[in-house]
């Protein structure tokens, strides 16, 4: 656990740095892989920046709406650079809405766009695990297993380490190794993204078993595991549907496709 990174007189918050690092690597991956999904990397980067910016502004707006009385004395605090004056659920809702509007406006193909983002989502999941590891949050239940770690006054499952290992494995699984032509011929759009969602849901279903924190339904079942099961079921159902639809090949690639392929 290392919540603070000291560089001379500066004390930087490691979890925040790791999340920023995840976003930065994610942006690099967008640039690297977008073309393989027949989407302009510039367009994807622009969508990402709009979403991030609107997400931060939305998070601040929702925080203000939640605690308006906090800003009465000092209304200028609404412009504060503090990362603690943010409502994350509100920010995510605004970012997703802006992303949808942007995608619609620029006629971006829904499933192919999500596929192009998938490696970035996966690397972000790894950075979240590392951030939990750094902060000591998301700690595990007590254990007598030999690999248990001493944390918060008990020997616990190193659940943050499990999380990092699993998300790294998922990242490796969803990394597109095929060329643009291969992806277009062999895989329906949306399959990669849905595979990622299913794997993350399965990983969370497993990880939540060992996490000490969490909400319990009826005093026994973890709400997070139930949510993960529902997401897993939905993603597998959608995956089945996406695998069945005819492969959509970008117009410019149609020339190279065999006559026997399922061209829409």
């Amino acid at each position: 656990m290392f919540p603070v990174l000291r560089i001379g007189p500066l004390a930087l918050q490691t979890p925040g740095l790791l999340i920023l690092l995840g976003i930065w690597v994610g942006m690099i991956l967008i640039e690297k892989f977008a073309e393989r999904f027949s989407i302009s990397s510039k367009r994807l980067e622009s969508l990402t920046l709009w979403s991030l910016l609107s997400g931060v502004l939305g998070a601040r707006l929702f925080y203000f709406l939640r605690f308006p009385q906090a800003f009465w004395a000092n209304p200028l605090d609404i412009l504060s650079l503090s990362p603690f004056l943010l409502d994350f659920q509100g920010g995510i809702a605004v970012a997703l809405t802006v992303a949808l509007i942007y995608g619609q406006k620029h006629k971006m193909p829904f499933w192919a766009t999500l596929d192009a983002f998938t490696p970035s989502f996966a690397v972000f999941a790894v950075s979240l695990g590392l951030a939990r590891f750094a902060s000591g949050n998301g700690y595990g239940i007590e254990t007598h297993l030999p690999w248990g770690v001493e944390l918060w006054g008990a020997v616990r499952h190193p659940v943050q380490v499990y999380e990092v290992l699993l998300t790294l494995l998922i990242f490796y699984t969803v990394l597109p190794v095929r060329s643009r032509e291969e992806i277009s011929k062999r895989q329906n759009s949306g399959v990669l993204f849905l595979k990622f969602v299913a794997l993350i849901a399965a990983a969370n279903l497993f990880l939540e078993t060992f996490r000490a924190e969490g909400v319990r339904l009826f005093g026994m079942v973890r709400a997070e595991q139930i949510t993960a099961w529902l997401v897993l079921a939905l993603s597998l159902w959608l995956l089945g549907r996406r695998q069945r639809v005819a492969i959509e090949i970008p117009t410019e690639l149609k020339q190279g496709v065999d006559s026997g392929s399922k061209v829409v």
Partner: protein
């Protein structure tokens, strides 16, 4: 009913088995793995009971954290050489004046790494009226795992840590919002 291809049938079987196994895992682990975390456990992190301590103010008055239960507590670790610590002091003082009935603000000066007369003069010059205790030996700072200043712990009325903010300066708005959150904890 629509005829399914062989691949579709295999896929449906795979999905069915996966979901049944996943549901089985949830039930099995709920019965045999899930243990309630001991809420009385003491640790300097959100969700745990805040470590108790007893320290003196400058005028020799002894303050024990456990005796403050019944009201939310904002525990602020600071030092006079730390610029963000000094910057957030006026906001802490304002919130103390405004919410004195609803929250206790307790400053913990990390005296082991500070110069007591300088810190004391800073408090006087800035007319800080909330209680400040002196951690001369550094034992409380160490028990709270404070690795950067300022670090602020937000405790509910039962002495459980609800939030930890490392770094600063905290704005008045943030402090008021945290007081609102702490007041709602049952």
């Amino acid at each position: 009913m629509k005829n399914l291809s062989k691949t579709d049938k295999y896929w449906n079987i795979f999905v069915f088995i996966t979901l049944v196994l996943a549901a089985g895992w949830i039930v099995f682990t709920s019965l045999f793995f899930l243990k309630e975390e001991n809420k009385a456990s003491v640790a300097p992190i959100t969700g745990f009971q805040a470590p108790d301590f007893q320290l003196n103010t400058e005028d020799g008055q002894s303050i024990r954290l456990a005796t403050l239960q019944g009201k939310p507590v904002i525990l602020n670790f600071w030092a006079s050489w730390c610029l963000p610590c000094k910057s957030e002091m006026p906001a802490l003082e304002k919130v103390h004046q405004q919410y004195v009935d609803r929250v206790v603000i307790l400053g913990v000066n990390v005296t082991i790494n500070d110069h007591l007369p300088v810190a004391s003069r800073f408090l006087q010059e800035n007319m800080i009226t909330f209680p400040v205790v002196w951690d001369v030996e550094g034992s409380t700072t160490s028990r709270y795992g404070v690795s950067a200043l300022p670090t602020t712990f937000f405790l509910d009325r039962y002495g459980r840590i609800q939030n930890v903010i490392i770094g600063g300066p905290m704005s008045e708005a943030l402090l008021i919002a945290e007081v609102e959150k702490l007041s709602k904890v049952e």
